[in-house]
Symmetry: C2
Subunit: 303 residues, 2 copies
């Protein structure tokens, strides 16, 4: 089944202990769509400026991502710049220029309204809701958000949460949404707000799924040379939703596997700057790493 992602396409300038990348392709929808493209057909709905040239879109073409709904408008593309500390866990944003993204009002072409799997990347919850209203009963709606919207548009966020199936956020965001310092309690509260599953992304510590009758947690793949964590969360979401779209089932077993697929794609993402690692990534590398997750998490039950 196919996936529609709505989010940002950006130019990032990133500095990490491994080096620096200037004005490279980034943005939540870029990472998501490229990661998801290894699992299912992806349609990208986003906006870029006049400085976005055909060569910037090369990776989307390579990966077969449908960019016919990627509009190019007058102005400059969204730009973000940040720097990471020694252990890659602290990130400082140096600048954010919304540019054309500031006036992004996603309008769905008729042919995208019936896509089965929808991912609402981290954008204004009002826009997320407006996209959802334009869709014709998708089978699965997953979404991301961030502290900026949690504190800035709490009411709009709550409205949006009512309509979705799966929320993907980090620990801190989950606690902030629920106003609850304990993640397990926060998860329970969020499940009462609408989603049937909450996926908590924990960076180098992996990810966890909280459902009404199920809990699952998986560690992150241990990387010796992480280069740039930018986009890891969106790549996780791409692998996660991608796997579900590929198998077409939404049961507990499928969601557990989807967390593995997400973890695998996030681990590849951080191996290089921008989306570079995905340009050389081969399906058998994904399969090999998925198998490694089995080996690093399995144990014989104690009696």
């Amino acid at each position: 089944m196919s996936i529609l992602v709505v989010g940002s396409v950006a130019f990032d300038t990133v500095q990490t202990p491994s080096g620096r990348a200037d004005g490279v392709l980034g943005g939540s929808a870029s990472y998501f769509s490229v990661a998801a493209s290894f699992f299912a057909p992806v349609h990208l709905l986003a906006v870029v400026g006049e400085d976005f040239n055909p060569e910037h879109a090369e990776i989307f073409r390579e990966r077969g991502v449908d960019t016919t709904a990627l509009s190019r408008v007058a102005g400059k593309t969204f730009r973000w710049s940040g720097v990471y500390g020694e252990d890659l866990n602290q990130r400082t944003t140096l600048s954010t220029e919304l540019n054309v993204f500031e006036h992004f009002r996603p309008a769905l072409p008729e042919r995208l309204r019936r896509i089965e799997f929808l991912f609402l990347a981290n954008i204004d919850p009002e826009l997320q809701s407006s996209v959802l209203r334009q869709m014709k009963r998708p089978r699965l709606v997953a979404c991301d958000t961030m502290n900026f919207w949690i504190s800035g548009k709490p009411r709009e966020l709550r409205e949006m949460l009512k309509e979705i199936d799966i929320l993907l956020v980090n620990d801190e965001e989950a606690r902030q949404i629920a106003g609850e310092p304990n993640t397990v309690r926060a998860a329970r509260k969020i499940l009462e707000m609408g989603p049937s599953s909450l996926i908590v992304k924990r960076g180098e510590y992996g990810a966890a799924m909280y459902g009404n009758h199920s809990h699952f947690a998986v560690p992150a793949y241990p990387l010796m040379d992480p280069v740039d964590p930018t986009g890891a969360g969106d790549s996780f979401a791409g692998g996660f939703v991608g796997h579900l779209a590929r198998i077409g089932t939404l049961n507990d077993a499928g969601i557990r596997q989807a967390l593995i697929a997400g973890s695998v794609m996030a681990s590849f993402c951080v191996e290089d700057f921008s989306l570079r690692r995905f340009r050389t990534l081969r399906p058998e590398e994904i399969r090999t790493r998925q198998k490694e997750f089995s080996r690093m998490t399995e144990f014989e039950e104690l009696v």
Copy 2:
């Protein structure tokens, strides 16, 4: 097989968002020995002061911990006081009074020299080495340490690490020992220093094992009402070494199960202040929670 633990017995004053406990039983060797006692016979080598009365030792008697090597000397027992923040991850030490612990020079009675499993809790690495020299070839030597010794006695710590089998520390300590910001690289360096396995305790994120040919990671048990994290790491070590002593084998499968046993004991520890939860803990509760770990980590391999 039996376990010998050498470490501290203390009186703790702890404040957490759930409440406060004053002058309650604590110390690394207390938590370790009580947790391990659910799996194997435990001998406790430690020192207390004249303020340590028979009623303080009640839990050791209840759990069958051998305290004949717990010496009571002139002076006061080690006292520690600390306060935890809202989400229990930040701990501030308010005071540390070493008291009788300052002059602790562990001398092994003859009958304890041939015990098969040795746990050197977090004490001066010189004392850890001196205990090890007094032992007659134990089958397994596991140990803990902390930033205070890593920066204060690096040479003595290195000497000690040469002689042990398993080091149990947290992420930060592992990185500090190796002088390496990446945990995976730090683990590799530590394995070159002597231990054949490194166990990294990650608090609410679980634990991981790094071996020369194996990697294993397990999430923490999701607790809705954690009360006091004090002693969780030592309770983890107690379950971990306890399981290995119980099964008597040290292969990869056993070590994986031991991480589950450790995680289970840590999760019970934080459910109440001090060692209280262990007083009511029943073996079937341990078995049930071990089974829950299987359910929350298992998935069907992706193809």
